[in-house]
Structures are given as structure tokens and as C-alpha cells.
């Protein structure tokens, strides 16, 4: 399997479930969870991590700065 080049971290306690990140992701990486967080919102979660292209649409769009994105360092053989 191909390595996933990006790692996403969504702060589920900070998320307000506005769904803006979901709406701007070109690769359907994110969706809203069925569960609710302590603020009472259906928080965003990462469901298709391997599809992420690191475009930062979600992190730029998030009004609550709840998304962190890392590009992994891939070691060459």
C-alpha cells in the first residue's frame, strides 16, 4: 500500500460542526461524526485519509482553527 503523505488532526473539542471544511474538500476526506462533542456539535472527522492532497482548503476555511495538517517526510529507499 502507498504511504499516506499527509496527516490531518482535527481538534474535536474545538470543532463546531459547521461543515465548511467538508464542503470545500475536493477529495471527500472529511465528514461529520454521528457523535457529539462536549460543545454539543457533530464534530468533523477524517474518514478518507489516504485521499488527502494537502491542499489546505479545510484548514483555511475552518473558523475555529481546529485543523492541523502535516506533510510527512517520506524516506527514499
Amino acid at each position: 500500500m502507498k504511504a499516506k503523505p499527509y496527516s490531518l488532526r482535527i481538534d474535536r473539542n474545538r470543532c463546531k460542526g459547521c461543515e465548511l471544511c467538508v464542503s470545500v474538500c475536493p477529495r471527500q476526506v472529511l465528514d461529520l461524526s454521528e457523535e457529539i462533542n462536549p460543545l454539543g456539535y457533530h464534530f468533523a472527522r477524517v474518514t478518507n485519509p489516504s485521499h488527502c492532497i494537502g491542499c489546505m482548503n479545510c484548514s483555511d476555511m475552518c473558523p475555529d482553527a481546529a485543523i492541523e495538517i502535516q506533510k510527512r517526510l517520506i524516506r527514499h529507499a
Binding site: S7, I10, K16, C18, E19, L20, P63, A65, E68, R75
Partner: protein, 260 residues
């Protein structure tokens, strides 16, 4: 661990992380509110320019009244609409500080219109961040000077009627008739590309102030999903389809000269 995380095997390069100038605390803003995005962008720019420790913001009356909870720089509070006057005083007493005024459309274009025009006309070396969300958010969604024609609000329940209520005031265009402003630009938080443009505009404005260039105003078309009576996604669409046609985006004033 409270976050959904895909753990990297190797440490990677951070592409995006919460800016340091943003206090690590949940905001009181409603889901999808553009004030959150605007606070985030200001914090990013303070980080980028490394000016957090010498920046003084002046917060408005409106939903952004608690900016001092969220932005990790000095913040003063002004009476409704008077932020440009307070910012003027701070900047003139402490000219080596970076001073910004943060205002909603009710604050800046209604009760504070006189302060807005005169600070711009004096060419004060301050940065005005103008969050235009087309309503009075904090007080329950009353009509603002920037409410669109036909838009339903608490005080225009049948829609704004231009025959008796006037039409949306375009602040950038209005201030661009003055001789003194250095930079005037309108951006919109309606897409990732729009947000990147807003970040760039704020960077230009703050940098200009650092170089002593003078007055700048960045108008940010911003969602207030609750009082636009829409979901956050539809509020963003309302900006694209309703607000931008009424408030055209772009740079109106560059390097002290009107852009043709």
C-alpha cells in the same frame, strides 16, 4: 487524546497549525461565523510579521467585543463605533506600536460613521479591519446600513425596501473619494481562495503600517449564519451570490492612489 488523528510514523513538515497569536480557547462565536475566521487570519498575520508583542488592537461593540479573550496581543475596548478614535489616540501616543481597529458593519458604518470617515481623512497610520456581515449580529439581527435590498432582518421583516430604508452603503467606494487613505481593499470569506486573499490583504495593510504608509481599511464580507437565517454553507453561498454583486471585491486604493 481528544482529537481525530492519523499518527504520522515520521515527524513531518507542518503545513497548517493554529497560529500562536490565537489564544488556545474556544470562541463564543456561532458555528461558521466569519469573526472566528477573521480572528484566525489576524493572528496568522501577527505571527508572520512577528509583531504580536507590539500590536494593540481596539475591539468594537458587537459580536467581536471579546477579541481580548482570543487574540494574544494587547487589546483596548472602545465605545460603540469609536474604535478609530481610540486607535488614533493610541497610535499617536505610541507611534512605534502597530495599532488596528476591528469593527462590524453596525459599529463602523452606522453609529461610528463619523469616526470612520475622519480617521480615514486624517490618514491615520492605523489598520481598520471591517467585518461586514450585513446585519447587527450581537443584538439579534437588526438591519444594518450594509443590509442588502430585499434582505429580511428583525427590523425589516418584509425585506429592506430602498424607497424608505436606503440602499447598502459601500464603505470602500465611499472612503476612496478621500485623498488620504493609503490602502483600501474588499475581500470575502466565501471560499478558501477568498480567505487566502483576505490573509494577503491584511498582510499588506499591517506591513504598510509598519513602514509608516498610513491609513488602510480591509473590508471582509463575512458570514453570520444565524442572522442571515441560513446554514453555514448557505451563508457562504449568500456571500457569493448576494453580497459580492452588491459589494464588488478588489483593491480600491493602492499605494495612496485610487485604482482605476
Amino acid at each position: 487524546m481528544s482529537a481525530t488523528r492519523i499518527r504520522p510514523k515520521k515527524k513531518g513538515r507542518i503545513l497548517y497549525r493554529r497560529p500562536l497569536s490565537l489564544v488556545d480557547r474556544a470562541t463564543h462565536f456561532c458555528p461558521g461565523c466569519g469573526h472566528g475566521t477573521t480572528h484566525k487570519l489576524i493572528a496568522e498575520v501577527l505571527d508572520t510579521l512577528k509583531i504580536r508583542e507590539k500590536t494593540i488592537g481596539v475591539a468594537p461593540v458587537g459580536c467581536a467585543v471579546m477579541a481580548y479573550y482570543y487574540l494574544n496581543c494587547d487589546i483596548s475596548e472602545a465605545a460603540h463605533g469609536r474604535t478609530p478614535a481610540v486607535a488614533t489616540g493610541i497610535k499617536r501616543c505610541l507611534p512605534d506600536r502597530i495599532v488596528f481597529s476591528y469593527q462590524g458593519d453596525g459599529d463602523l458604518a452606522a453609529i461610528g460613521m463619523a469616526e470612520t470617515i475622519h480617521a480615514a481623512n486624517r490618514g491615520e497610520n492605523i489598520t481598520v479591519i471591517f467585518v461586514n456581515n450585513s446585519v447587527y449580529g450581537m443584538t439579534g439581527g437588526q438591519m444594518a446600513p450594509t443590509t442588502l435590498n430585499g434582505q429580511k432582518t428583525a427590523t425589516s421583516p418584509c425585506g429592506r425596501d430602498s424607497r424608505s430604508m436606503g440602499t447598502p452603503i459601500r464603505i470602500c467606494e465611499l472612503l476612496n473619494t478621500l485623498d488620504s487613505p493609503w490602502h483600501i481593499e474588499r475581500v470575502a470569506l466565501n471560499s478558501p481562495a477568498g480567505i487566502r486573499k483576505a490573509r494577503k490583504a491584511l498582510l499588506v495593510a499591517f506591513k504598510g503600517q509598519m513602514e509608516g504608509k498610513g491609513y488602510s481599511l480591509i473590508e471582509i464580507l463575512s458570514p453570520c449564519p444565524v442572522h442571515m437565517r441560513l446554514s453555514p454553507r448557505d451563508a457562504v453561498r449568500f456571500i457569493t451570490e448576494g453580497m459580492i454583486p452588491a459589494f464588488p471585491l478588489g483593491v480600491f486604493r493602492k499605494e495612496g492612489k485610487p485604482v482605476a
